[in-house]
Structures are given as structure tokens and as C-alpha cells.
Symmetry: C2
Subunit: 333 residues, 2 copies
């Protein structure tokens, strides 16, 4: 197959898996108090690639298992992610997400808090439905609790960065490792754990997910400054407008000469920014080499993920996990 | 022993059990991001009777098991409850709880949302630490997810009642059954389930917890109008001031003559209420017989709970669960 056909066939596979997840979720996510359940389903019914469920299912398939056993677990990872989006949007006062009103903007804060809590509650109801031994379910539920602790800590760090002017790249990497890396790590791990894979395999799957998650976030930072607005689902440069300390900003602050660094800092920290300020900040970031550096770093992580998968026999599932990693950095394959 | 000594010895037992729970929780509730963990521990470090953990442990002991096996599960029920308090306080805009600033009043809303999420996450981490078979842990975690769904639905109903003038007693009972009854039901059930009790025993334990929870809420409604402010931990009549549709208000609205019912309705729904309005509302409620009726109803539920326990052999644990029920309605024993 040509590279293009490989990519098309891979994307079709992702879509098929996502359809199974969506169908399962739409069956499960109902109950009393229609308003509450509507709010809980809001982001989910907007669609999505379901990358975390895909990772769960493919990690399970790596040793020849049939993914239909664990659709409930893969779906649980998606709603765990959605729960964090709903609560993060409240905290960040983001009134839209991917072009639609956020849950709190549409239903009000109280229902949005509850909709997040409800989805998180359903995580544990769903996992119990999987077709694997009960003992494995217990361990997986415990992992889902533990990863959520990391997500809370990561979000707390992210919030605390807002009012600080001395955030280091190291702290930023630690934050995204928790806020984005941890859930991908957990997705790969629970898929492998459900399939009873070896300690070495599980350890590699964790690293695979973790590194992929971090690369994913770095690429997200890059796209926020370089992507087409339509694909991005939010206005370009919004990270700069909100004064976010992304990898790019932090790298530029550390690597520009002192005058330019001070200039960038002033723009990023100003409560009001003109369009020419934003343009200037972008130019300074570009000049610092931050974008190139971030891309290289993401590529390095992705190369490492592909290496880590070699502990598994060659299979369609392994190829799919490799392709997923490549997809995360938008690399052609 | 005299009745007084029985009560004193029972209260000392509750205190002992609470000490074990508190000690375990203080060991477990720590991690990165001190601010977040401080916020999560805030209500817990204020102390409390730990009635839900007590119910878990005593339900486990009913068939001769040693409660030390499941301290982590009993503790999990306490933090699940605390998580709902933190989030409810945000939704209800309650800036104090038991005389101290609420979590969001002290740490701000974002950290309060996260502190609730964090405690809820720790529920599943803790359950996994219990000394029971993994299969039982999985089932218990699923029950904890399912009960939280009920709690979310109950809180949604409670919120929706605020803007309605046609709430029925039946709807109110349904709401408190979810918002308060469900967690007591779950507490008794998971203790029994962990001890591998029979289907009949488990079914009775569920009803025991459910009825006790409802009685507990009815008594809470009564105390809100009749108790000593110091014991209450909040100003007397605050339910009336906030226009809450408690059992007492709904009963009075349904049972007073039309003129008086209209008068009460007008006071309850008025955005501003004078102290003489509040006094008048209280008198109307008293006149309707609501307080007597609520007390009778709570007593009926408590009598039923004691009956339900007879499916277990006589033991100290059974006696303690009977006494817990009596304590809930403040009956001397």
C-alpha cells in the first residue's frame, strides 16, 4: 500500500472503533433527571476520534485478544477524559469548546459540576461490565482512581502557573506529564493489564502512553500558533492572548536575548494585548527557535514510543499503535 | 446497664471507630500540590461522628468478621460523602459549613472543584487497599460509582426544586431518598457484601440504611426549626430563610387551610423575608402538625430498621446498628 492508502485505512479503522464506543456510550449514558444526563452527554455527542479508547483496545489486542471484551473499559476512559474537560472548562471560564457552548455555559455551573461528577461515577459502573475477571476489574478501577489524582494535581499546577512569572520548562513538562500524559499512560496500561500482559510489556505500554501524551500536548502547543483556524476549533493565537505559559513561550523566554525576552514577557503578562502585541510575541517565539525545538522534542518522544512497542510481536494492533503515535504528531505515514 | 450508661458506652464506641478512620485518612490523604490536598482535607480535619464508616464496619461485623479488614472501605465512604459536601457547597453558594469557611470560600472555586474530584478519586484507591478478595472490591467499587450517580440525580432534583412552587411530598421523599438515603444504603450494603453475607441479609441491610438515611434527613429538617443553634452548627430557621422546600414546609402547604397555606407560600417564596415573616412561617408550620407528623414518620422508619436487623443473629454489632438508628432520631436508649 502507498503511504496515503495506509493512512486512509488507519483512519477508517479509528472511525470504526469510535463508532463502537459511541454506540455503547449512548446506550449507557441515561437515567433519571434528563437535564443532567443531557449535559453529561453534550461533549460526547459532538463526536471525536476517541484516541484514548482506541489506545485501550489496541493495547488489549497486542497479545491476540478480541477488543469486544473491553469496550466498556475503553468507553470508561473516554468519559473520564470528558469529565475532566467539563470541570476544566468551568475552572478556566471557557464558554465554548470546539465551536459549541461549553456545558456550564449552556446548563449553568451547578449542573456542569454534577454532569462531570456523573460521568466520573459512570466510569466505575462501566468498567464492571467488561468481560474480564473481576480481580482485573478491581485493579483497573484502582488505576483509574489513581490517574485521576494525577489529573487533579496536574490541573492544580496549571492553575497555579497562571499567576506566576517564574515557571520553568521542567515544571511545565511535569505539569503536562500529569495533565495529558497520565491519561494516555493509563489507557495503554489498562488495555494491557486486562489482557494479562507481562510486567515488561506493561511497563513499556505505560511509557508508550506517557510519551505519546506529552508529544500530543507539545504538538497542540505548536498548532495553537501555526494551524488553520478551522482545523483548530478555536481562534489562532488564543494561547498567547490568554497569556498561557506553553512550552513555546517558556522556551522563548529562556532562550531569547535578555532584551527580547523581557519584551516577550511584558506582552505575555499584560492583561490587555493588542493584535500587534500578539503578532510581535509570535515573531519573538519564532525567532527563538521554540517551534522547531518543540517539534523535534515531540518527534523524539514519538520515535521512542515506536521503539517501546517492539517488546510485542508484530501484529496489526502494534502497527496501529505505531500509526497512532505518528498521527499524534501529524507525521505522514 | 442503665439507659444512660448504654448510650455513653455506645457513643464511646462510635468515637473509637471514628479515631481509626481519621487516622487512616490522615495517612492516606497526601500527595503533590499541598494546597489541593489541604483543601481536600479541610472538612475531614474538622472532625465528625463518621456515621457512614461506622455503618460499613458494623455491617461487616454482623457475621463475626473483624472490622480492621475494611477500614479502607469505611474510610472511602466518608470521603465520598465529603466530596459531595464540597461540591454541594459550591452549587448552593454556602460560604460556611459548621462554623468554618467552606472549601470554595477559603481556596476559591477551581481548587474546591478539584478537591472534591480528588477525594472522589481517592475513594477507589482506598477500596483497593482493603483486606478482602479482589472480586469483592470490584463489585464494591461499582456500587460506589452507582450510588454516586444517585447522589448526582438527587442533588439535581434538589436544585430544580428551588425554582418550582409545585413540589410534592412524594417528590421530596424521592429526592432525599437519593440525596441522603442512597449513601447510607450503600454503606450498610458494602459492609455486608465485603463479609459475604446472604442475599436476604444484604437486601435487609440495604433497606436498613435507606430508611435510616431518610429518617436522618427528616430529623435534620425538624432540628433546623427546633434545635439549639450551638448544636445545629448553623443559625436556626435558615431553611425557612432560604425558602427550602423541606418535608415540613411541603406538609404544611398541603395541610393548612387554603388561606393559611397561601400565606405560608407567600413567605417561603418571597426573595426577602423579615424576622416576623420567618416567625409567622414557623407558627404556621407548627399549627399544621408538620413537626409531629415528620417525627412520627422518622420513628416509623427507625422501628422498621430495627425489625430488619433481626435477620442477623444477636451480637454487639447488631445492637450497635440498632443504637445507631436510635441515635439518628435522637431517641433515648
Amino acid at each position: 500500500m502507498t503511504d496515503k492508502t495506509v493512512k486512509e485505512s488507519f483512519m477508517a479503522g479509528i472511525k470504526d472503533y469510535a463508532k463502537n464506543i459511541d454506540q455503547y456510550l449512548m446506550e449507557q449514558l441515561k437515567g433519571q433527571e434528563k437535564n443532567l444526563w443531557d449535559a453529561a452527554r453534550h461533549y460526547i455527542s459532538g463526536g471525536g476520534k476517541r484516541l484514548r479508547p482506541f489506545m485501550v483496545l489496541k493495547s488489549y489486542e497486542l497479545v491476540g485478544k478480541k477488543s469486544s471484551d473491553i469496550i466498556p473499559i475503553a468507553s470508561a476512559l473516554e468519559i473520564l477524559h470528558t469529565f475532566t474537560l467539563i470541570h476544566d472548562d468551568i475552572m478556566d471560564k471557557d464558554d465554548t469548546r470546539r465551536g459549541v457552548p461549553s456545558v456550564h455555559a449552556k446548563w449553568g455551573e451547578p449542573i456542569a459540576i454534577l454532569a462531570g461528577d456523573l460521568l466520573y461515577s459512570m466510569v466505575f459502573v462501566l468498567v464492571y461490565n467488561a468481560n474480564i475477571p473481576d480481580g482485573a476489574k478491581a485493579r483497573i478501577m484502582k488505576e483509574l482512581g489513581a490517574v485521576s489524582v494525577e489529573l487533579c494535581e496536574g490541573q492544580t499546577m496549571d492553575i497555579s502557573f497562571e499567576n506566576r512569572d517564574d515557571v520553568t520548562i521542567e515544571e511545565y513538562m511535569d505539569m503536562i506529564s500529569k495533565k495529558t500524559g497520565a491519561l494516555f499512560k493509563c489507557s495503554a496500561y489498562v488495555g494491557g493489564y486486562a489482557a494479562n500482559e507481562s510486567e515488561e510489556q506493561l511497563s513499556n505500554l505505560k511509557l508508550y502512553g506517557q510519551k505519546l501524551g506529552i508529544a500530543f500536548q507539545l504538538v497542540d502547543d505548536i498548532l495553537g500558533l501555526t494551524a488553520d483556524e478551522k482545523k483548530l476549533g478555536k481562534p489562532i493565537f488564543s494561547d498567547l492572548r490568554e497569556g498561557k505559559k506553553t512550552y513555546l513561550v517558556l522556551y522563548a523566554l529562556e532562550n531569547l536575548d535578555p532584551t527580547e525576552s523581557a519584551q516577550l514577557k511584558q506582552i505575555i503578562f499584560a492583561p490587555e494585548k493588542s493584535e500587534s502585541d500578539i503578532q510581535k510575541a509570535f515573531e519573538l517565539i519564532q525567532k527563538s527557535g521554540a517551534i522547531e525545538k518543540a517539534r523535534k522534542l515531540a518527534e523524539k518522544y514519538i520515535d521512542e514510543t515506536i521503539e517501546l512497542l517492539k517488546v510485542f510481536p508484530e501484529s496489526k494492533a502494534r502497527k496501529d499503535l505505531e500509526n497512532l503515535a505518528k498521527l499524534a504528531i501529524g507525521r505522514d505515514f
